[in-house]
């Protein structure tokens, strides 16, 4: 018996395939997790708006049969904010990357976390600028090689989930392209969350990152995710019992923040509107 591929139901028929992504890229896995999470919600295609910036990950929405808005480098979050405020009934999903979301769009990223508006942000983190040919990004590890760090990266990387938490996000989770089922689950939980949800999806770029850093293909990079991911619970345990056993390069995965004690922005705004309308009426 062949199982129905739920993803096919959501592909846009006017779009030319194959997609723009390289062989071995992890973005297709992340997108599949995202679409499967959408399928679980029961939302109709017509109530979903998918907004992206510029970069490899930001090309994703064009393949999907929703309202899709491919904007400017770093600006997906403001456009999405406008859509959501313009029609709060719409389910607004932001697709961004590490460069798009935390370098050129970093200001919007921290402020949308603080604002706690009801958006779901899926940040594809592949530690590199892929579309422009492999320059180092705010999440490229120290000492890693890229086309603009030929002698090794002297910058320190962002931990995006920690940035989101510090900026006040009310839902923050991270998983990897290897852990696609967990990723799907976190995205689904992000959809259910009232307020800003940041889901950091670690994804591999063998073409631009792997080839410069001794990870020769997508499989090698997926294997790296498998070997170097550590659950939040295990990380906590090891931190107290044997901190020396933790590799600083390890990726901690899990749901880091999930709180419902912070008012959602549009609800707060609507409260003001309602009180003014009552006063007038």
């Amino acid at each position: 018996m062949t199982k129905e591929n739920i993803v096919l139901k959501y592909l846009r028929k006017e779009m030319d395939f194959p997609n723009v992504w390289c062989p071995g890229c992890g973005h297709g896995i992340v997108l599949t997790a995202l679409v499967r999470a959408i399928a679980k919600t029961g939302w109709t295609k017509d109530e979903i708006v998918m907004v992206s910036g510029i970069g490899c990950s930001s090309r994703a929405p064009a393949y999907l049969d929703f309202h899709t808005l491919h904007t400017l480098h770093g600006r997906a979050i403001p456009f999405a904010t406008g859509v959501k405020l313009g029609n709060p009934k719409l389910k607004v999903i932001v697709i961004t990357g590490d460069g798009d979301g935390t370098a050129i769009g970093g200001n919007h990223f921290i402020h949308v976390c603080r604002r706690n508006i009801d958006l779901t942000v899926i940040l594809f983190n592949n530690n590199i600028y892929g579309m422009t040919g492999g320059q180092y990004s705010p999440t490229t590890p120290s000492e890693a090689y890229s086309v603009t760090t030929p002698f090794g990266n002297i910058d320190r990387p962002f931990d995006i989930s920690k940035v989101a938490e510090a900026a006040g996000a009310t839902f923050v989770a991270r998983s990897t392209a290897f852990h696609a089922a967990a990723l799907e689950n976190y995205i689904y939980k992000g959809f259910q969350h009232k307020g800003i949800a940041i889901i950091e999806a670690m994804t591999q770029c063998p073409t631009c990152y792997g080839r410069k850093n001794e990870l020769k293909d997508g499989v090698a990079m997926m294997k790296w995710f498998k070997d170097h991911s550590i659950s939040k619970a295990k990380f906590k345990k090891l931190s107290s019992e044997s901190p020396e056993s933790i590799d600083p390069d390890d990726i901690v995965t899990g749901i880091f923040v999930e709180r419902d004690d912070i008012p959602e922005y549009i609800e707060s705004y609507q409260n003001i509107v309602n009180s003014l309308l009552n006063r007038e009426g």
Partner: protein, 377 residues
Amino acid sequence: MQEKFILGNEAVVEGALVAGCRFFSGYPITPSSEIAEAFSRELPKLGGVFLQMEDEIGAMGVIVGAALTGHKTITATSGPGFSLKQETLGFASFTEIPCVVVNVQRGGPSTGLPTMASQADLMQSRWGTHGEHPIIVLSPSSVQECFKYTITAFNLAEEFRTPVIFLMDEIIGHLREKVRIYDETEVEIINREKPQVPPEEYTVYKDGDKLVPPLASYGTGYRYHITGLAHNRHGLPSFSSETVIKLSERLHDKINKNLDKISIYNEFFMEDAEIVIVAYGSTTRSAISAADILRKKHGKKVGVFQLVTVWPFPYAKIDEFNSMKEIVVPEMSLGQLRGELEKQIINAKEKLIGVNRIDGYMITPDEIIEKTLRGVK
């Protein structure tokens, strides 16, 4: 109709509300902040949306995104903020998303003269974003015109599916005058065309031979893609020569073939004029005073031509001024408007007289009179 005694900046808000705008996003900047402040007071009372964003670029993204949900949207800024909005303005022009962007010009370049006036963003309002794109730019010369032409700005944005720039200057923004506020039943209000076909037949960038295809709002059953990449009729990326050329031609044609609707100007004392003063914005006021004095005291037949629509530029109209003895061009810049007239005026060096100030102060009628009497030297 009711009368109010308000600032130009506040009259913009009055006009926007009458036009049906219920969505503002902006970022604080002098000398436009009164616009944001008034919207923050008024919009919540009407169930509308006010959002102060973390930066100018963000505010511009917000109004373009919100426009796709069917809202008429507006932002307001000045010099440095206008520079920051340019990339998104190009996006809105290329993707044909209506919105209104107010630039209350202040002295530049850079931080410049934040509290003083300028008209040095004339070229930026036309060419500030990269690439070749159509744009509509209106400029008011009084508080009444701030009200009136803000409504026009929304009407043109909606009718032609384009961003419209409302190019004010600090003098007009901070000028307080009596203004007649009409309600929406007393003025013409244009709303964007909605698709008449079922969703499966709808394409966001093509509807037969229409220069302006209808724009469906998000959530109404019509799903489509929008991208800043070159795009086909579905809005999907396409780099084929044919698609790219057709798109650019249509974008320019929708403006250039509708100049009768878009090009707005006002004429004063022009019937028998032998000398014309060409002006826009606050400078128009000094030009009218100067013309009046030149006629009464000096016997000169002087008229005033005020550009309300500064872009697209009214080249055909300017061509008529080749019959004038002199063309006087007062502007708070080193000659951006004069430079555009030079393209159309034969023997421009023998006819065009610039009256220029760049120190943040208004050009006075006396300065225009003196230069007009002195003639071309």
